[in-house]
Symmetry: C3
Subunit: 338 residues, 3 copies
């Protein structure tokens, strides 16, 4: 795809070469994200960080990524405070807001809202999550993390074995990551979930049709063996009709040090899109793994900044100018990144 | 008036020369607002963007305007989170906040609150809307848009014919725009509204006393003919006692392609302060006019950035230094402004 | 203490030399805070301004302080919008957020939450208030103000007489200020409060054990005489079980011009952590003293910016580079600071 001026709405818009491009730019962002150097390549540019659904983590991550490129961030965090509550169409909101900023990140509770918004926008739009639908930067950072973690162990994404665990029905991140993994070859998916929260059938058959092996199981311990990566998820309580309904499934699949040691290969990378639910009745990923070298969950969020910087740099077409606008960093930056 | 260090609280503080000054500076902001060049003239300055009543659009517009001049923005979006809820006076809030920032924009639900705040502020304050009272930057951007649109058609503001349509009783923007138009000569106002939502009598008589022609009517189609500009408004639901009461008037006056073609002169500019209510039962300005070249509603919001940049530059006295602090823009900026 | 890379969590971590260091750096910030010059020493750095409990004043003060050093600010203002409501631990939040920013300010409703957060943070954390526990930057700005005010009258902190008035039980600021004053010698504390809202016993005995004189009284007029400083506080309504319970104490101790003239020495400095409750039934510090030269309450909040700039500069270790990154200010800055 042509990145210059493009909207980033769905993982489906990428081919394997596009993903390689994004990851290669993300790699080049590391010195800036890790404060070894700073760049002002987007000095003077403004990001409209429009979150019409709450999300501290993703909102701050996008905002920091834009700041780290030298740009400014204007944002909104509340749909009730917006003109949408006065009957304004997404078309109007898009025409107006895109007159203020140079790029827009939008999160919206409704499926398809960001794509509709993007159609009317005069500047590139990145989908920061539209309901249970898409969250492409999350899928990209997940895949980028897998690539990096496996690479450090001398392996690649093709022929990988991955287990996905938990609420695979509602988990937007496992859907998008699966889509993205279809660009690669011969992957073995082990999908571990309660029957009622299985991965949607169309995704499973797509994976199979693309030549991948898919095993669905409720037996977690068996499913955990023989994987390069285990990707855990939270019960998406907010997507259930009632909290009670979610309670049935909460805490049913948990990974901790003992289960990991008993079942996983010693090199298995542990991932989670976060937030993980650490309350006693859920605790899908135990704190006793916090010091484990294969626990990649915080490297995931760190990588999110790299990937988001890369997306901004690509759609605003400044990748070639980043190093020219760079200089050294003078403040305290020790002990930050592994 | 002397702009340096001044508060901008009401359209009543301007004479015609002042308006010309603002518009001339706004014109000079276009290269920066349209990202042809960038300026850092307010690098190091801080705007206190204090919104004690929700407003995404106006808040972000002011924030972007300050960013586009190179300054930083600190803001608040919620009155409940503020010390006002702990019994703090506006005097105290003003004394404190004006110690943090170089200029303040304030929106407040109470009539007169911003003026009271400004009295105690140590830095220039711009009224971003105080209840149903004043919203001077909106009136200025409306008039600036009229001037620009008519100019491109070889006409001026003097001797103009303008129709104002809708909730003229509660519409803060039509009140302020009318006040501002009194600085010009021989304007014909056609005020189209339900009888119960007529323009306040004192404004009507002021307009007449200043030598303008004012026609009040409930007959929209007749009223639309023979105008340079048609200015539509939304039923200001939030100013009615009940939603039911507002429902009586909702959708009574609507402009669409057919009505426009049937009644308006081919050159008539279509304006609306936005948000327009696009729900089926309201729809005061139909989407079938979205591609019409005379639809100026998004040029209005774009112009808002120019006018707000001009106000900041004037009250902080940096108009002469803007171009000296300017440089070229390197990122993707295509297809943004008409 | 070693400031470089340190967390600022409690006043108890400072010795007298540390306080002197902070105040000396704060002094050097004055030209920048007062816009005589600007500095870009933290250009490229990002503050995570994480307010999980509302506070306009403190949040904006910290944000402005970071901006005045040239850095950017990303922030959150709502705990409900955060992953904490999805069961995320403070450990996880800290690991994630500290991957985005170069320093973090955190306010949290729970005692000890900020310290727990700091343990897992990869960047320096400043406690912006944890429930009724600590708010060290407030205590520092209070003491800095006392030092400055008394110095201008030829006196120092040692041997000072200070009266603290109001809700001394719940007032976090009087607790922290008292702790800090234990670093100095031979101070006379007059604690004026309703019996039920007395200063906690452990603080009183600590003060006495450190060799200070402590008088506790309900007789305000008597207690006001013979002081260098009077420090008034608001009834901390939000810390009572019911509003009714708070109402019993509201308005019981008030200072106004007449009471001041009748009881205080002519040089007595008047302080209040703000917000003051100016509603008729409270009015602990009357507006008729607003023009009094000894009223230091707005100099207090102004000083807050200096102290917070100093803390950032110290923990990020840039104090030596501030002046090198400085330049002149070109915009309107008159009539700002006394």
């Amino acid at each position: 795809m042509e990145f210059r001026g493009a909207h980033i709405l769905s993982v489906q818009q990428f081919n394997r070469e596009d993903v390689d491009t994004i990851f290669s730019v993300a790699d080049s962002m590391e010195p800036y994200a890790h404060r070894l150097r700073m760049t002002k390549v987007l000095d003077g540019a403004i990001l409209g960080n429009m979150f019409f659904e709450p999300s501290t983590r993703t909102r701050v991550s996008f905002g920091c990524a834009f700041n780290l490129l030298g740009g400014e961030v204007r944002e909104t965090t509340d749909v009730k405070a917006s003109s949408i509550s006065k009957g304004e169409s997404l078309y109007d909101t898009a025409r107006v807001i895109s007159g203020y900023s140079d790029a827009i990140v939008m999160r919206h509770p409704q499926v398809g809202a960001v794509a509709e918004f993007a159609k009317a926008s005069r500047v590139p739009v990145i989908n920061g999550g539209d309901g249970s639908n898409e969250h492409p930067s999350q899928a990209l950072l997940d895949l980028y993390t897998i690539r990096k973690e496996l690479h450090s162990k001398g392996r690649g994404i093709d022929d990988m074995h991955i287990a996905m665990v938990g609420d695979l029905k509602h988990g937007r991140t496992v859907h998008s990551l699966s889509q993205l993994l279809m660009l690669y070859k011969n992957i073995k998916f082990t999908l571990i979930s309660p029957k009622e929260l299985r991965m949607p059938e169309d995704i499973v058959s797509n994976l199979r049709n693309a030549g991948n092996q898919v095993i669905e199981t409720e037996d977690m311990e068996k499913g955990l063996s023989d994987n390069d990566t285990v990707y855990l998820t939270r019960i998406q309580e907010e997507r259930f009709t009632t909290k009670l309904e979610a309670d049935i499934y909460r805490g049913r699949f948990r990974l901790n040090q003992a289960i990991y040691t008993r079942n996983c290969q010693p090199n298995t990378v542990i991932m989670h899109p976060l937030p993980r639910d650490s309350r006693a009745d859920a605790n899908e990923l135990d704190n006793d793994l916090n010091q484990h070298p294969n626990l990649a969950i915080f490297r995931q969020t760190d990588n999110g900044v790299l990937v988001r910087m890369a997306l901004f740099a690509l759609i605003l077409d400044v990748t070639e100018q980043i190093d020219d606008s760079s200089s050294k960093v003078n403040w305290y930056t020790e002990g930050r990144f592994e």
